[in-house]
Amino acid sequence: MSKKMQITLTVNGEAHDILAEPRELLIYVLRERLNITGPHVGCETSHCGACTVTLNGKSVKSCTMFAAQADGAEITTIEGLGSPDSRHALQEAFKEHHGLQCGFCTPGMITRAAKLLEENPNPTEEDVRFGMAGNLCRCTGYQNIVKSVLAAASDINTAKEAAQ
């Protein structure tokens, strides 16, 4: 065991000071030290994306980052998208279009999709398939995930237009 270090993370708008070993992976710190259990561990080799969070504006696989590297970062997890009273358009769309089954990939999937739509508010089906290729799902065959993301894009755009 190496000596622990002080790490500051702002997760879903809340600042946390954590004492952790440098080798602790970000996913471990989120899940074990902060009890933020939405992001999951799936493959551990950065292929599956179940651990995806948004870190300083980037979609990141938190199983392939040491918490020490994230020191000072702003992080958004699935828990920071929407609230029970006001769900994110993607959360609604995944339910509406059956974009999930066992739910294990879903937090990473939605977190990634949120970033994708931020960068590309009008994606084509191909854009979604390519932009979501860092997230694996074993249950759905992706077709309804793609449908959900496209529907959410349209919902978000409609809401934006209505607001203007």
Partner: protein, 284 residues
């Protein structure tokens, strides 16, 4: 998959990073995006008592374009490459290759410097940099020096960079003419079964210059001078392409792995190279 313990360092400038490297010698490794190193550490195949994180060093960041000279800081990510309109218009082959690397999340973290410095024969940027005839800039205790991409790779994971040096930047002349980065892989996230970078210029109906490099077809990236030469002065017709392919195949030495046996890889390499040449010629 849990890594062994290590000390973490986040130097704020290059001299501090170099000092740490000097201090800890073989016990230290620098980390950029970490997507090669961290999985190795988690599998305990890489032991790194001192991890030196380069993220806070501003000097390693940024894309600089000075006329036709492009300089990429080592910490420029694949995502930044794709996201840079200036770079995409000046050297679109970079974006074409970057988009074929891993997946979106990995591209946000994965850096150009890490990709070329690591020496993994599966990485795509080394071959591309050889195709571009890029220069790698290193900084170490003796000061700075430059090494051509084409002279950088000795064998798998063994490069011209010494352990106390840091690769700080990559520079190259903006390519002219047609280009293509062609890659066959099993799925997104995989390394190449075979990949080829091709750049060509055209004068009338004739090929004026050609550069061809390949990825994951030897224990190092392979720039094939003979393959390029086989195209120059030709109309890049079937015969010339075939000669270039033969020349390229003479320069590679693929090994069998889960992607397939050697004969298959050589066959696919031939197809991929020919496709890349044809596509590049179409854009020239």
């Amino acid at each position: 998959m849990i890594p062994a313990a290590f000390e973490y360092h986040r130097p704020g400038d290059l001299p501090s990073a170099l000092a740490l490297l000097r201090e800890h010698g073989d016990d230290a490794r620098v980390i950029a995006g970490g997507h090669s190193l961290i999985p190795m550490m988690k599998l305990r195949m890489a032991e790194v008592p001192h991890l030196i994180d380069l993220q806070a060093i501003k000097a390693l960041r940024g894309i600089t374009i000075d006329g036709t000279r492009v300089t990429l800081g080592a910490m420029v990510t694949q995502h930044e490459v794709i996201d840079s309109d200036a770079l995409m218009s000046l050297a679109p082959i970079l974006g074409e290759a970057a988009l074929q690397i891993a997946d979106p999340q990995v591209r946000y973290m994965g850096t150009i410097g890490g990709n070329v410095a690591n020496g993994d024969p599966g990485n795509d940027m080394p071959g591309l940099m050889q195709c571009l005839d890029a220069t790698f800039h290193l900084e170490g205790p003796e000061g700075t020096r430059s090494v051509l991409a084409r002279a950088f790779y000795d064998s798998a994971y063994m490069t011209a960079r010494s352990d106390d040096e840091i690769l700080t930047a990559i520079s190259f002349e903006a390519p002219k003419g047609g280009f293509a980065y062609e890659k066959q892989k099993r799925k997104i996230g995989d390394y190449a079964t075979a990949a080829a970078a091709v750049m060509l210029t055209r004068e009338g109906d004739t090929c004026a210059a050609a550069s061809i490099a390949m990825t994951n077809l030897s224990d190092v990236p392979v720039w094939s001078a003979a393959a390029g030469a086989a195209l120059v002065g030709t109309d890049v017709g079937a015969e010339a392409v075939s000669a270039a392919v033969d020349a390229a195949l003479a320069d590679i030495d693929p090994t069998e792995d889960n992607r397939g046996p050697v004969a298959f890889k050589r066959h696919v390499a031939a197809i991929i190279i020919a496709r890349a040449i044809t596509r590049a010629w179409g854009r020239a």
